[in-house]
């Protein structure tokens, strides 16, 4: 039997939501599951700009003040940075896919610096093919 699978659409580029996506993804990998992350729209934009840490908070951002406070508390609680979670994700064999439609809309080229992170490019058909065989599917 194939390993169980988690498939997550990462649509948001918000700092806190990227944490949710990567923590669930890495938790799934740690439990022996296969994981595909489909990056689209704002999540894809963050990824391609290598700016995972730069996203705003989804709530209480307050022009950066809220995020500054949250980051300070996270550092005190020794929460790993997003870049570290991303490295762990790759090391544990997670797959990252970029949706092609928003790439065209947002002017993201395959030559952009994220290319080394992206395992494949696809559209909704690739996502559904994965998702219908997944026990966990999320849209973040």
């Amino acid at each position: 039997m194939d390993a169980e699978r988690t498939t997550i659409v990462v649509q948001s580029g918000d700092y806190d939501k990227l944490y949710s996506a990567l923590i669930i993804a890495n938790g799934s990998l740690a439990m022996g599951m296969e994981v595909s992350l489909y990056f689209t729209f704002w999540g894809l934009q963050r990824l391609t700009q290598r700016g995972l840490e730069r996203g705003p908070l989804s709530k209480m951002h307050f022009f950066g003040l809220g995020k500054w406070m949250v980051k300070r508390r996270m550092a005190r609680a020794k929460v790993a940075p997003l870049e570290r979670l991303l490295q762990d994700f790759k090391e544990l064999g997670g797959r990252m896919l970029a949706c092609e439609m928003p790439m065209a809309i947002m002017g993201i080229a395959k030559a952009d610096p994220c290319q080394d992170l992206i395992d494949d490019y696809g559209a909704v058909g690739s996502y559904i093919k994965d998702a219908r065989q997944s026990t966990v599917t999320l849209f973040i």
């Binding site: 890495n26 990998l29 740690a30 439990m31 022996g32 599951m33 929460v79 790993a80 544990l92």
Partner: protein, 73 residues
């Protein structure tokens, strides 16, 4: 057979779980992974991972905020 030590004391979610998985991937069958941590939820959840991976959980010792877990690969 070797004992591989993983020190995740002071680390927060999801690092203890992820570092456990990394060590398990590198270990040989029969090796023992010994994880030392302080993150309370991980004391409960690393055994979930051992179960999901169908590995033998040898021991869960210590307090919620200062524990040692041993798993056989």
């Amino acid at each position: 057979m070797a004992t591989i030590k993983v020190d995740v004391r002071g680390e927060n979610c999801p690092v203890p779980l992820v570092e456990t998985r990394k060590a398990l991937r590198k270990a040989n069958p029969g090796d023992i992974i010994e994880i030392a941590g302080t993150h309370p939820a991980s004391r409960k959840e690393i055994p979930f991972a051992a179960e999901a991976l169908k590995l033998e959980l040898l021991a869960v010792e210590g307090a919620d905020d200062d524990w040692t877990i041993r798993i056989r690969r």
